[in-house]
Symmetry: D2
Subunit: 343 residues, 4 copies
């Protein structure tokens, strides 16, 4: 770094690029959002104006060439991630990349290799690890508060299915949605998964079936440390975004509730009720987007390990591919059947 | 006692008399319901058959004369309580009497004097002390779990006002409804009330105003130990029977929730809800009716002090009379303005 | 029936025999506990005295011979159930039998055949169906409140493992403990299970492993109606008896909490806490034991179908056997691989 | 305004001045923090640097003279508020002033008169009205969701007493702490208070008594619309900042819970527990500080009424003075005994 602040270029001015730009501009004193690039120049300009970002570009290559840029945030569509990681690494930029790295393990491995060779840092955007609820659960596991963990149950349900075109391009529920839960499971267990059994169904929309995908799924995880975990996924929880975890250990159990817009209970003549939980992932996980970027900035500035590595990104993808295979073969799948060990 | 079981006569075969009879018959192995009397002989017969009570009478005097009866339960209308206590005491019977003893302090004092002279036991039916929730709060206070208590708040609301004829004969909200809360306040504080300020309104039904009563009330209690308490009463909580207590102390606070028929949460597209709380005092306090009678039976059989004394019954009545006076005079009232000290 | 009350003989005066005797004696006006038999005559006498049961016997055969006995409750050890069902059926007695019928499908089928031939009623003691929480969930499913059900999750954890000798004779965790959850799953789904995948571990006590059993298990259920369910079992939840269910449907979700001895929250300088949930199945399910017997008595008296049939008992056993096989083979198992269709 | 953004000068760079500066700089696109003044110039400079505020001054008079400043935030000590309001009003600046305006009604009235004459806007910093919980309660009242309101209960407890020097200068618990609750009561009831009865004690620290103050208080509010309210105050809730409200109405009741840092429940061998609630008012009310400033900025820019007026500030002070008088006289006090009607 040429200064004690991290100068950052943002690639992609869509929804998540905008959120990260605001975080850099308004919440992280040690970060300077220096440039933003998007093929949609208007979108980039709008974010730049809002966030006082001085350099607005159409071509991300101009960011990579900019010697004053220390690090890049890759907020572009998934299919561009691996190539951008490779280019950024070769340009010597530290990298924060949204999940997933790619749907193809070989492309992921090429990207990780480039990062390794360039000796830059790469952090993957598994933001949920930074949510205060899940961080508290993680803390309960690592602190020994729960004793030896035995069982884990993850509930992860979206309020409503995404549009069909999105689903068709998503790589399927396991790579698109469950991938967060696969990462959460590894993060909370503190152990790798050895094998898994996945089962899925189409319960919500027959069009999802025609698109070759599932909208409802259950996965059993067999961890190397002996724990057993389950993941419960649905594309549609009419009451809102449902994101919970429970862990049972030898000394106790821990469970999270959803987040609500208020802590108000209304008692009427027909029921005792409260308003629906936060319904949009941007609201539900607002804090975590800030915390993950803060961790990235500090890791680069102080040359410390990033909290979510490229290998973490790879491991979650391997699990997603194994889940897909398990559904196809209707049997448990060893992870090594899918992904040779990491490079 | 001539045996190791307590032989009991029940006076009054109405709603509460029936409940107590069933408890004696089916839940308390050390009690024998030996006789039941009611001017409505059919009612008495029905209870007797259901509860295997051998002697069915129209005149309660026959119970008092019965040498095999060790103790009586007075479950008749309030206006008969004081006289029945006096007769029963003179007959040498131990007495369990429903609350309140009477609306008149002088009649109460005559009754208590008779009990004292006869050296029989008298327990008053403040059943709520035996509810597991309130007993747990009491335990937190006496065990020191809360440290020194500072503030108390009692919420006590009925689902709906009783019929107007009942209200007209009730002695008013303080003697009829708040009397339970006055007893609860003394029980939980472990201290007498020195003065109180009461304020009331008619918010629900103007007919209650015409009957000279209130349907909504707030009372501030100044305890001799320095605590301050508030009672919040309403004759109408549309969501059901609302009975809660909070105490703040130097080491912590304790609060009770209502009781529900189930522990089920339903999440729909419009709210997160649960079914209404138990709506009928017989359901809400079912356990406590059994526990209070069990305590009475054991106290008599083993010649131990009863847990709720005649003085407890008197003290709650003094508070009710003070509250009535405070509303009239629109100022705080010292309890000694109302009730000379107990005999 | 020769009268309008059901005269019942109880076979077995152990823990559950005593509970059922008290229910018959004190809570069910339409039932008469007429006889009780146990090889331990003292135990039988003690229960008989407590519950006013006139006939006390050492040999259950004397109950079966008694022409005044309309129905029997089989509360003896599991290995005697099937034979007793057969004998009782041949004697023309209606039968309430504790779960499980037997560990062997062929013995179960013999018993069910005898019942069919004798045209007597047989109800199996899956009491949890009658718990107000699970009954409320069942109601939400059948009433359509949840829309089409998609996912189910059952948590069923004991406070502590039973003694090793018990475990050795238990038939294994699936036949002993999960069998309740298998029945619950069928009951709540309103659909049969087609196949299941089970996975287990020994996490709590290595002696359980030596005994050939598991203490921790996860089962995935594939229902014929397309739902997917998971069961999460542990022999040890240090915080107490943990029995919950969640169902997600197209219109909403429903979830149960555990039952607690009180509804009190204590706020201290270190945490906001409540007392542990009910820790003993007799307390946790007290109401349900009464409700199931009441249902049996009414079904016999009014010649209506019993709410839990012999086929229900058989189906849960088939699931347990399939789970055992799935663990052995490490793959999903079709139920028809284990149990030919019912006779 | 000379532009479509509001240019603001901040007077006072202490804790709350810093919070407001950050809000203006980073969260409110329509506001420009143009100048900041503090006798402690270092403090002002530090905030200015963090928040990109171009003009840093020692003397607030320089802000009032600055023709480019449209509005000021008064974040200086309470005793300066009234004079600053007068000066700012005369300088033609719109004003946001922290609570309370002053402890003296006559000084308040002078300030309000100056504001009236200058025709500038004045908003008082009763931020809690903007908290999502209390705003939701307010909404339930005004929308009719609760029907006619009958009873209100406000719990407002600090985690620990402030330092004694602070207490000595605070004007007493009613003017310093309860003043927020007095405003909340008026806000939620949608009605003025006619009379009140206050009672207080020193339960926590005898030094507070020597300082002539109370640390524990209960106030009964009689509203003009017939509602009755209670406020429950303590300077010390060891479990954290406790801020709740309950309202009972003819159609239902509403209640708020505290805010917690996470939604995690830990079940151990001794209790079911969660972490303590947010313990610092800056965290607890973070959102509300942003919302109140946003409302002020919009009211000035679009010439709309401010949501919290100078009369609101005056009314809460009148209630505090009446509470003090009620404690002294040990009787209910009419508000008009204390404050002649507003100018």
């Amino acid at each position: 770094m040429t200064s004690n602040k991290l100068r950052i270029g943002i690639i992609g001015a869509g929804r998540i690029g905008k959120v990260h730009s605001e975080t850099l501009a308004f919440r992280l004193p040690d970060a300077i959002p220096l440039a933003i690039a998007d093929v949609n120049l208007d979108a980039a300009s709008e974010v730049a104006e809002r966030c006082h970002i001085p350099r607005v570009l159409r071509d991300h290559a101009d960011i990579l060439k900019d010697p004053e840029v220390d690090a890049v945030l890759i907020c572009s569509p998934t299919e561009t991630h691996a190539d951008l990681i490779i280019s950024a690494a070769r340009a010597g930029k530290h990298i924060f990349c949204e999940k997933p790295i790619d749907h193809s393990l070989s492309k992921i491995d090429l990207a990780l290799q480039a990062v390794k060779q360039a000796r830059v840092k790469l952090q993957i955007g598994f933001n949920r690890r930074f949510d205060t609820n899940f961080a508290r659960v993680h803390n309960a596991v690592t602190s020994g508060e729960l004793g030896t963990p035995h069982l884990m149950h993850i509930v992860s349900r979206d309020p409503a299915p995404p549009p069909l075109p999105y689903i068709r391009a998503s790589g399927g529920i396991f790579l698109d949605m469950t991938i967060h839960d696969f990462d959460m499971a590894r993060f909370l267990a503190g152990s790798e998964v050895e094998s898994l059994y996945a089962s899925g169904a189409v319960r919500i929309d027959k069009e999802i079936e025609k698109a070759g995908d599932l909208d409802t799924a259950v996965i059993v995880l067999h961890f190397k440390n002996g724990m057993i975990g389950t993941i419960d996924n649905s594309r549609q929880a009419v009451y809102g975004y449902d994101q919970r975890v429970e862990i049972l250990g030898s000394k106790g159990a821990i469970a999270t509730e959803n987040r609500f817009p208020n802590q108000v209970t209304l008692s009427t003549g027909s029921s005792i009720q409260r308003d629906l939980p936060l319904n949009f992932f941007m609201d539900r996980y607002a804090e975590s987007f800030e915390s993950e970027l803060s961790a990235f900035v500090q890791a680069v500035l102080h040359d410390k390990p990033v909290p979510v590595t490229g290998q973490d990104g790879r491991a979650a993808t391997v699990m997603a591919l194994a889940a897909r295979k398990s559904v196809e073969l209707r049997r448990p799948v060893q992870l090594e059947e899918v992904g040779h060990s990491a490079p």
